[in-house]
């Protein structure tokens, strides 16, 4: 069953590509929280991401348990109390570059883009619009963005005892190096 699902996903996402799709399974998404009391940072280097340069479609997917914190207890609280990662193991963003015409994928350089889409985590989906950069490089495409999210928007409840230790808005950093998907 799993094999069928994977095959279907892959064929749906990539094989229809004709060299128009780029992907990675080693992308980076991190987030940080800054308050007077504490600075918290978490990193995830196992982001799966797909970009279709013909349509501007972007998909990002992560496992919540792949976020790594410096302190073990924070990682435990993040997984067990806030994100409930046993119940909701994945987070997905599906969106589209809305100003695709301003990016020339044949010409190396940096292009400012705006991406609109749906961010799902902790079983809540919200529409977000973020600004980012697409960099066309030799043999690939890089994408980066920094934007803010509010944990409460995703029904992530942070108890009063530690509420002052965690910022109301978290800064999310995305760094992706895509490689072309070889059409088969």
């Amino acid at each position: 069953m799993k094999r069928i699902v994977i095959l279907f996903t892959i064929s749906f996402l990539f094989l229809a590509a004709n060299g128009q799709k780029f992907m990675t399974k080693n992308g980076y998404i991190g987030f940080s929280s800054h308050t007077a009391i504490d600075d918290i940072k978490a990193d995830n280097n196992q982001v799966a991401a797909v970009l279709d340069i013909s349509t501007g479609d972007m998909v990002f997917q992560v496992l919540i348990k792949s976020f790594h914190f410096e302190k073990a207890l924070m990682e435990e609280h993040f997984n067990e109390n806030y994100m409930e990662s046993d119940k909701f193991p994945k987070s997905t963003f599906r969106g589209k570059i809305i100003n695709l015409s301003s990016v020339d994928f044949n010409k190396p350089g940096k292009y400012d883009v705006t991406v609109d889409g749906d961010l799902n985590m902790h079983d809540v989906t919200n529409k977000i619009s973020v600004k980012g950069t697409i960099e066309v490089v030799q043999g690939g495409v890089n994408a980066s963005s920094k934007f803010n999210i509010v944990p409460e928007d995703y029904k992530i409840n942070i108890p009063g005892v530690v509420r002052d230790n965690i910022a109301k808005t978290l800064e999310v950093t995305v760094t992706i190096k895509y490689a072309p998907v070889e059409s088969k």
Binding site: K2, R3, I6, L7, T9, I10, K25, N26, G27, Y28, G30, D43, N45, Q46, A48, Q61, V62, L63, K65, S66, H68, K71, A72, L73, E75, P89, K90, T175, K177
Partner: protein, 139 residues
């Protein structure tokens, strides 16, 4: 009465200090030292990927957040953000493998595509591949 108060104060103080001590200990607790930890399972990358592909729910219950020692052939080596090392280990499938993210300061030169390695790390679950974190190279 005074002695009673002193004892009470002593007991309260003892619990307060013990509480603060425990809180500080927990707060600063480090991640498991994978190098010293005994693996919960020793398995090949091929069998591990197959277990998730056949039954993700059962494999998640069995392997996730456990320390695994996996053996397999290196497919590719990539350095990501802040020079974090990601090593992809081949499975029986063309589409899905085992991706191991290593603890900081692991030398990418220790890995070459095609060589066989033994890696110990914590299993985070299955996305499109089986994902392992906090990995160290055993052999």
């Amino acid at each position: 009465m005074k002695t009673y108060l002193k004892i009470l104060l002593g007991v309260v103080l003892f619990f307060a200090l013990a509480g603060i001590g425990t809180a500080l200990y927990l707060f600063n607790m480090q991640h498991k030292d994978i190098g010293k930890a005994k693996p919960d399972f020793v398995i090949t990358a091929v069998d591990l990927q197959k277990a998730f592909e056949d039954n993700e729910v059962a494999a998640t219950a069995k392997y996730v957040k456990k320390i695994l020692e996996i053996e397999g052939e290196v497919e590719s080596v990539k350095t990501g953000e802040a020079n974090v090392l990601n090593v992809t280990i081949k499975s029986g499938s063309d589409l899905s493998s085992v991706i191991c993210t290593f603890v900081s300061a692991t030398d990418p030169a220790k890995f070459t595509a095609g060589s066989r390695v033994i890696v110990r790390g914590e299993c985070s679950g299955f996305l499109m591949d089986v994902l392992m974190n906090n990995c160290i190279l055993v052999k």
